[in-house]
């Protein structure tokens, strides 16, 4: 076996200090297998060593939360003995190296996190971000990632119901692929990863172990350079068909009373899954590596322990239930091997060819893992910029069309039509709406879900940006009539060893914390992806938020398409005219300076609850949250979704009109109301101190702003639907 040295430890991504710490904890030098295990457990991806002390400050409880962070996924109560289980996770680094498999296994991994807990997965979402469309790799990466996500989700038969796709040159060297999954289970049938019962058998099920993905988690904890392509062998290869069999077999076994604990083999494979189960149960675990089903000959203990082959699970069974369990896995044509047992040694003990090849005290891997309080800077709110000179003479119609046909704001059906978003026949609000909604199978309630982040806001002021991301998910859930319950987060940042990047992370977590607390909207699961840098250039801070809400009665579900002509159109919330970092200024004018819109959490909550009441009492016909592009783009989207036109009036100078129409002030909604309800709504708004602007009415086919613009909805659609098709023509 190769001799272990400090140099070898550094090659494994550990620092010299960390290596010394290992020697101290072990009381001796580690051997190669042990070094590999330490490096896998102590890398950023598995240990959260840079982020942990900050993540601990996030709120994780409200009356719905059954399980917060720390398990494979979070669990919330959905009433009637039902729970919803969800989590988001990144697969950024592998997807850049090999887009199809990287994205596919990202979906596979998050699915396993959810069904490990006893849930049947019912919805996939994702957030994918690419470099500039003109960058030479973007088209290849976009096509690879989208087909990878589809290839996995479509085959396993879980609908991909929502997400976001965006381009910015800051992702030229590091794309983001964040995959979220939501599952459903019975409250008394949730499974956890905490092992118990000395002598209970440890069972390996699923695919065989191969040499793929060795050091995947370590690769994901380092920056890229020009040689990133050479890391291709660290990317795992997915097999959604096996995952479907594994899903059905696990759910079948879960119906019996034979599982003590269960954990999927995700990042760092057999290493992290065995250690996590034993560590949570304060036990030891002993495994005979000769019993691991291997795909290739002559695999070494080092390779077996560090492989990230997909579609594998580790289960602790109740003693005596082996036969019953084996029968189920054999029926589904999957490997089933009893590989070891729980012990009272509190050590990870591995045997291979009748020799002990590893003996590590479990707590040294988890509890004693390094935790860093890294240096950071704090970002102040940037100086306000006056954009009057940019917009004085700007043509409103032209600007609207430029935004609608811009790659970031154009219709994304090219993406989501490659995803089966209808399988399981419960998707009652398809991609393209403010939130996706899936019916809780066989029930009259629904699960609303959305994924959001505006990285340009986060770059301009990380704290406001993170608050905004939380608020936008909240607003998107409100807009479909759901009650926001909790979030999951995926924190994508650069190298935390730089204080500027660490500052972005700290400020974002602080912003998230404030928003979650104010909205009683806790974080129940998540993932941190650091080192998203190539040649020293970091991505924008991108704290992606996945929000989940409860729709108590699916018949009250709201949509944003206009329902009829001659209805009133109103804006809920204050429009102050904040233009910096808006779609118009950032993407069309090209000015990337200035602060993002301010977040007022009191307004956010007040306006959200007001809209919720309107939906519940059936006083509104359509609701759409105002986000990118401001009121004008929001309105255009409502028209395009319905083929109904609108006529609005805005007064003042050209600059004043532009500010009103294109500003991205927060906490706003556009609503459609029938004339008969107008006075009633005005009165409620007045009583609750809600700002409401009546801006016009719906009409047939033509989108119109008095004195400024007249265009057919059909033409708007043509502009809005062409970008992806043209870009991917060849």
């Amino acid at each position: 076996m190769q001799k272990v040295s400090k140099e070898l430890a550094i090659k494994h991504g550990l620092t010299a200090e960390e290596y010394n710490k290992i020697i101290k904890l072990m009381g001796r030098n580690p051997n190669l297998v042990e070094l590999g295990i330490f490096s896998a457990m102590w890398n950023e991806h598995c240990s959260y060593k840079s982020s942990r002390i900050w993540l601990q400050t996030l709120p994780t409880k409200n009356k719905y939360v059954i399980q917060g962070p720390g398990e494979n996924a979070g669990v919330v109560d959905f009433g009637d003995g039902d729970v919803v289980i969800f989590k988001i996770e990144s697969h950024n680094h592998p997807s850049y190296i090999e887009p199809y498999q990287g994205a596919a296994t990202g979906v596979g991994g998050i699915l396993r996190d959810v069904f490990t807990m006893g849930a049947r997965p019912v919805a996939n979402l994702n957030s994918i971000r690419f470099g500039s469309p003109n960058h030479e790799k973007t088209k290849y990466l976009l096509n690879g990632v989208v087909s990878g996500i589809g290839g996995y989700g479509n085959c396993i038969g879980v609908p991909t119901v929502g997400g976001e796709t965006e381009f910015d040159e800051c992702y030229n060297g590091n794309i983001l692929v964040n995959a979220m999954n939501i599952g459903v289970a019975k409250k008394n049938k949730v499974f956890y990863s905490i092992a118990s019962g000395i002598g209970n058998p440890v069972v390996y099920v699923g695919s065989k172990t191969g040499r793929d993905g060795i050091h995947g988690a370590t690769m994901a904890s380092a920056e890229f350079d020009d040689d990133s392509e050479s890391k291709k062998p660290t990317v795992q290869v997915g097999d959604p068909f096996t995952e479907k069999l594994l899903l059905e077999a696990c759910l079948e076994l879960m119906q019996k009373k034979s599982i003590v604990s269960i954990q999927d083999m995700g990042a760092a494979g057999l290493t992290s899954s065995s250690i996590e189960m034993a560590s949570k149960g304060d036990l030891g675990i002993k495994i005979n590596l000769n019993l691991i089903p291997c795909r290739e000959n002559n695999m070494t203990p080092y390779e077996i322990m560090l492989s990230e082959s997909q579609e594998r699970m580790l289960i602790v069974l109740k003693k005596g239930k082996e036969k019953e369990a084996r029968k189920i896995f054999e029926k589904w044509g999957l490997d089933f091997a009893i590989i070891g047992q729980l012990t009272n040694s509190k050590k990870l003990e591995l045997e291979f060819n009748k020799k002990n090849v590893c003996s590590i005290p479990i707590h040294s891997l988890g509890d004693n893992a390094p935790k860093y309080k890294r240096d950071f800077i704090t970002y102040s709110y940037p100086k306000i910029i006056n954009h009057d000179s940019d917009i004085e003479k700007l043509d409103i119609k032209n600007s609207l069309i430029k935004i609608l046909s811009h790659h970031n704001y154009s219709n994304k059906s090219w993406v989501w039509e490659q995803y089966d978003h209808m399988v399981m026949t419960d998707t009652i609000q398809k991609p393209g709406g403010d939130s996706a909604v899936v019916r809780y199978h066989g029930k009259n309630k629904g699960i609303a879900a959305t994924v959001d982040c505006v990285p340009r806001y986060c770059k301009a002021h990380p704290k406001s940006g993170a608050m905004q991301a939380v608020c936008e998910t909240w607003r998107n859930l409100i807009s479909v009539g759901a009650q926001p319950i909790a979030i999951t987060n995926c924190l994508n940042f650069g190298n935390p060893e730089k204080k500027e990047i660490m500052g972005q992370l700290v400020d974002s977590i602080n912003g998230m914390k404030e928003a979650c607390e104010a909205l009683n909207y806790p974080v129940i699961s998540g993932n941190v992806s650091l080192y998203n840098e190539t040649n020293g250039v970091a991505i924008y801070p991108t704290p992606t938020i996945g929000g989940v809400g409860l729709l108590k009665n699916i018949n009250n579900m709201m949509t944003f398409n206009f329902k009829n002509t001659e209805n009133i159109i109103a804006v809920i919330g204050e429009t102050s005219g904040h233009l910096s970092q808006s779609a118009l200024i950032y993407d069309i004018i090209g000015d990337k300076d200035g602060p993002p819109p301010q977040i007022n959490l009191k307004e956010e909550k007040k306006n959200g609850l007001f809209v919720t009441d309107l939906i519940k009492t059936k006083l509104v016909q359509a609701v759409h949250d105002v986000s990118h592009g401001g009121i004008i783009v929001t309105l255009a989207e409502m028209c395009m979704a319905s083929n109904i036109g609108a006529k609005i009036k805005v007064s003042g100078s050209n600059s004043v009109k532009i500010k009103y129409l294109f500003s991205e002030d927060q906490a706003r909604y556009l609503i459609e109301i029938s004339k008969k309800n107008l006075e009633k709504i005005k009165k409620i708004a007045n009583d609750k101190n809600i700002k409401i602007d009546i801006i016009g009415k719906t009409q047939s086919e033509i989108f119109e702003i008095e004195n400024d613009l007249k265009i057919s909805v059909k033409e708007l659609k043509t502009k809005n639907e062409s970008w992806f098709k043209n870009y991917n023509k060849n």
Partner: protein
């Protein structure tokens, strides 16, 4: 009417189609691919999904599975068989239906609502529709591009075996209304005897108002 839905490893629309069959009064049982016998049944449904991961060729491995011998025997006796999406691919691979299904012309998976014209309403599967009616039903496939040579197309036409054709909302069958490149815009065909039907659209996804439409239900109603 009694139906059996075959569950292959990798089927994923088995539950969905069972719900629709039962919603329209057809008693349905699930049959595992490794079973040796079909239960007493009037209709066999091969559901959508990715049987055996669609490895080798879509539907190819499933066509060789144990239960398919029974399904073939059932069809030879005149029993009804309906294959939806992956089920259609299995029927083609089993040669219970003629022609082949190849990759979509744009080489992409397509999931969206499309419209089909009922070209033949004199079948057990479409009897409750009127001829040339237009149905809005979703598709979700990567290999739905139906191909047959000229002789076979002539034969299909002569025998009135083309049942569904992709069309626009006004019922025009043309290139613009063809989502996947299928020859003659073919979306569904029937065998000469009229008891085996294969279609790419998913009627079970258009049999619930909340999902956006009921046009698919007419197929289940025809079967009842």
């Amino acid at each position: 009417m009694k139906a059996s839905v075959i569950v292959f490893p990798g089927s994923n629309c088995d539950r969905d189609v069972k719900i629709s069959l039962e919603k329209f009064g057809i008693k349905t049982s699930m049959v595992w691919h490794a079973d040796a016998k079909l239960p007493k049944t009037d209709l066999v449904v091969l559901p959508g999904g990715f049987s055996y991961g669609d490895y080798l060729r879509c539907g190819s491995i499933a066509s060789k599975s144990r239960i398919m011998k029974e399904v073939t025997a059932h069809s030879k006796k005149g029993g009804l068989v309906m294959g939806i999406c992956n089920g259609f691919q299995v029927l083609v691979e089993s040669q219970l239906l003629p022609g082949v299904l190849i990759r979509n012309i744009n080489l992409k998976f397509i999931c969206k609502n499309i419209t089909v014209k009922v070209t033949n309403n004199k079948t057990n599967f479409t009897s409750k529709t009127s001829r040339n009616s237009v149905l809005e039903i979703p598709i979700a496939h990567n290999e739905g591009n139906y191909f047959a040579n000229k002789d076979l197309i002539n034969e299909l036409e002569d025998n009135n075996q083309i049942v569904l054709q992709y069309c626009d909302t006004a019922g025009n069958i043309n290139e613009q209304s063809n989502p996947n490149g299928s020859i003659k815009n073919i979306a569904g065909i029937i065998n000469k005897k009229g008891n085996v039907f294969g279609l790419m659209p998913h009627p079970e996804r258009a049999s619930d108002e909340l999902l956006g439409g009921m046009d698919g239900s007419i197929i289940f109603k025809s079967l009842k």
